[in-house]
Symmetry: C2
Subunit: 349 residues, 2 copies
DNA sequence: CTTATCCGGTGAAAGCTTTCAAATTGGCAA
DNA sequence: TTGCCAATTTGAAAGCTTTCACCGGATAAG
């Protein structure tokens, strides 16, 4: 591989001049500049990112730490980040944590030795990111938190407007006439799960629709959790006419549980998801869902990161992206009768 | 950040000794070794991967180049590779090509300057990888091709047994009594699409079931393509009783097209996919599919890569992983009547 | 005409590790 | 005690780039 020294010799200039031409770090007169560029061209020279990073104390790599690439929501986020990073000359180092904060810590610890320009993180459960990020920041690396925030997070973040998304969705269901609401939340130590629950509750309080705590179930963000919790909810009396799921995987589990219980969605019970994954379109019935912009979450985070790398030292930014309600076939107005508690019993003669 | 010099001073040994302790590159007597390790511990020292890579002419990064992370088949492959890489101290640099060979070339070109230990590549359409890989190999970096191979590829590869998978699936359908087969292949310049078609044809030839060329449609590996081609196939007379889709996304499009045409799957027509994505389980009817081990594809590639990095210089390896047929509700025996060509017409009185 | 500035350009140091030749140590045989 | 070999340990070079102090020459000011 050619190096700067060879370029310098061919172009008959000094090493420093080559560097200045390549980085625009000082004015270089036209003829010299041309000679350098020609030499670069002729040898197909590319600067060593390693040497450059070593010298500058910073590479153009970005660490991207996510829970699990095979969870269908995350690839879009990663893709958004990669696109922006790549088109600005940065590369993404991908790390999965499996929501294990020890594994996250290991990644955080080891990534440092690559001197990344920054980190884009979707924190794991019980993440220790807040403490770690401090040391990155000291080393001049930006850290952007995406989708959900660890405890006491004060730094930059890009999230979806979970609260408003949930709120709008529940409002819609209220207008349809529903009064028996249940929700299956994700793990409530995660901020996104909390916010979705908060939106759910605000909409109902505002309409003075009470919700018994039994109708709020917490589980993991997956199909199994949704399935099991739905079975619990379906046994409650009165039976809820709506299940608002913390994400689409939970909603998917809910649909299966409803079907397996011999009930019909949406006739007997409406189901609403969150995320609007591709799968929402192909379930039966197709799943209504609060759509959040996964790709934009990633691309926005990457842009914010680049701003920081380029010197923006303003106060922490908290970017919140809007959501939209995607209405499909899994929701319908409630049936007239079973809304009243007293009526539920006759079903078991 | 602490460096080796500081460790050396604290441990009261030379720089070289620290390096030898850390790398086991030479025998170091116990007391010195202990002093070094203690110093490392006390300062939380971690060697700079950049300096190490610069000196060794090779980093412990692995470039992973794939068409598109948001295509649901690829995340599992990436995840498999990342797991193995990480647990061996390697990091993955992720690059999407969007099947654009120019973008692939750009990645290939630029990744070189990071001196990766190797590359794991799912080649793009019309990939130029074969030429590029040569220069990587010269630089001591291994290149492993996964899932499908570019033209004239002679190097290491890890693929699924597409031919056998397709063959077994078609055999199964033959046993069910089907005689009118159609297939919607992926782009036939891709080896995996070719192989699946080959398996399809071998099974039918063996049973002396002829297939008119019209019944073989080629398209892109996505839902839209599957939808459009299915509409074409459904207009043929006699109407096929089976559509073997080149992958699950195509199959999904086929299911939608069948439904939109007022037909029933599997009663009127059976549909078979390939990949066995998560979505196969939740379509209606659930999709039968040839299951290929995405995660293993990635993890096997990573293991092979590590073998190469560690000095295995044997001849090129072509690892082929087995597939299994996952039977769900989208296939059924053909209805008695419409199997014969002549009978198709009465349907349009 | 001299002096202060400025522009372009240069060479060397620094950043951190690995590796190799050379120096040193320790042990053992003579 | 001396000599010698093998085992350890050391110091410096190399790998490639960025950056900074500094220099020659030219221009502007006095």
């Amino acid at each position: 591989m050619p190096n700067m020294k060879q370029i310098a010799k061919i172009a008959n200039v000094s090493l420093g001049t080559v560097s200045h031409v390549l980085n625009g770090s000082a004015r270089v007169r036209e003829p010299l500049k041309r000679r350098v560029l020609e030499a670069v061209e002729s040898l197909g020279y590319q600067p060593s990112q390693l040497a450059r990073g070593l010298r500058r104390d910073k590479t153009n790599m970005v660490g991207m730490i996510i829970p699990d690439l095979t969870n269908p929501f995350f690839p879009a986020v990663v893709r958004g980040a990669e696109d922006i990073a790549f088109s600005n000359g940065y590369r993404l180092i991908l790390c999965n944590t499996d929501n294990d904060h020890a594994k996250e810590l290991a990644h955080l610890d080891q990534l440092r030795t690559y001197l990344p320009a920054g980190l884009i993180v979707i924190p794991s459960h019980f993440s220790d990111l807040t403490a770690q990020a401090e040391s990155y920041r000291k080393a001049g690396a930006a850290v952007i938190c995406v989708d959900r925030l660890p405890k006491h997070w004060k730094g930059d973040s890009v999230t979806a407007d979970n609260e408003a998304g949930a709120y709008a969705a529940i409002r819609h269901l209220l207008k349809l006439g529903h009064r028996q609401f249940a929700t299956i939340t994700g793990p409530l130590h995660l901020t996104n799960a909390q916010e979705r629950l908060a939106g759910f509750q605000r909409a109902l309080q505002q309409s003075r629709v009470p919700v018994n705590p039994e109708y709020i179930q917490e589980t993991t963000f997956d199909k199994q959790g949704g399935y099991a919790r739905t079975l619990v909810l379906l046994r409650l009396i009165p039976r809820p006419t709506v299940i608002f799921a913390g994400n689409d995987l939970i909603a998917l589990g809910a649909l299966l549980a409803i079907r397996d219980s011999g009930l019909l969605c949406p006739k007997d019970i409406s189901v609403l998801g969150f995320d609007d994954l591709d799968l929402a379109d192909i379930t039966n019935p197709s799943l209504s869902s609060v759509s959040q912009p996964g790709y934009q979450l990633g691309s926005t985070a990457a842009r914010l990161l680049l701003d920081r790398v380029r010197g923006d030292t303003g106060p922490a930014k908290h970017i919140v992206l809007g959501t939209t309600l995607k209405i499909r076939h899994s929701i319908a107005p409630p049936e007239r009768r079973p809304a009243r508690p007293a009526r539920a019993k006759p079903r078991m003669p």
